[in-house]
Amino acid sequence: MNLEQIIQSLDLRVLTEQKPFHEIHPTTGYAADLLSCVMTGASRGGLWVTLQAHSNIVAVAALLELSAIIITEGAQPDEATIQKANEEGVTLLSSQQDTYRVVGRLWELGIR
């Protein structure tokens, strides 16, 4: 399962620059809104599902080398956050659904 297929199946909006998403294969995922928990729990190359949309999520994802952040419930990061994400090469995706449902769909797709 590559990121392009995930974006299509979950109808995610890509907030940052286009990348060859079909070459990115998320290995696993992590869901939390507390950044220190993410620091502990998220694995390199994994997806992170969160409600947080402020600029500090970018630093966390960059440090942990996550494959993408899925921001849930349509929360909209500001322009500066998106710009920072582009600079750091972090992919931001947006879903209208809540974290519970996004994680459920990812699990169904085999991201475990």
């Binding site: 620091m39 390199r44 966390v60």
Partner: protein
Amino acid sequence: MPEQTPLQKSSLISDQEAENITRVEELAYEIKVQEVMTPNPITMTTSMKMQEVLEQFRVARISGAPIVEEGKLIGIISIEDLIRCLIKSDLESEIQNYMTRNPFTVKGDDPVVEALKVFVSTKVGRLPVVNKEGQLIGILTKGDITRGLLKALQQDYQTEEVRRYRASHLFEDIESERTSLILRYNIKAGDFTHGGEASSKIKRALSRMGASPQIARRCGIATYEAEMNLIIHTTEGGVIRVEIEPHQISIDVYDSGPGIQDVELAMKPGYSTASEKVRELGFGAGMGLVNISRCVDIMKLESVWGKGTRLRMKIFLKKEDTVGEGHAAKS
């Protein structure tokens, strides 16, 4: 970038578009025509016969040539002109009957993008290159531009490789009893906008120096938590000081207040003094110091309430994974 590039002259490019400009486009503005052109091209004169054009094209394997009279460019002859001539079996005719007069030209110190514009808006296959005095100095084809851009892109790539190589061998040629590199970062209190930047830079520096991904990651997480603590909790910010030695990384984070009232309690997982506002941003899980202790080999936290806090950490590197001594980082 020089001041006069068309990119900056035009106010039509929005910030969004500017962000999307690729390295190739940037290079088209940076590289000058004379850097990619073929210098000293074969030239011909008006009175030469088309038969000679055919011979020259065949021998030199070229498909066009500028026509020069007394040092001045007056026209251009191309393989298309030669074909027209061949159809009429008119090889005894002089060049001036078939050449294109007053051809489009481009200046040597123009950026490549200017030449690209001419290629796009006209159908010409080659452009004579002239200097400020109008004298011919070279010839430019689309192939020359492609080759030049590819070469420049390759150089970009090599620059990063060289930088990595140099940094990963930093300590090798320096002799001392104890060699180290010290990085210092001043962190401002309340500066959430730049939160995580210092730790990102530290992590990048370590990777360049040849640290393994695991070491770079552990160091990144530890310094990130310490950096956020300075931003969230201090009154006047603080300093992160990282000392890199081949076999160990020593991180020292200190501030001038307010200090921690109960260090033992602060170390307890889940304990946090963060404000409601900070918690809404996802901080204040009470896991910062716990995360740090997981990532480092030695951690020492000292604090005097009202004075300040000093957090010292050490990460030891295995003999085969030292930094700056030529061990390439395996990703």
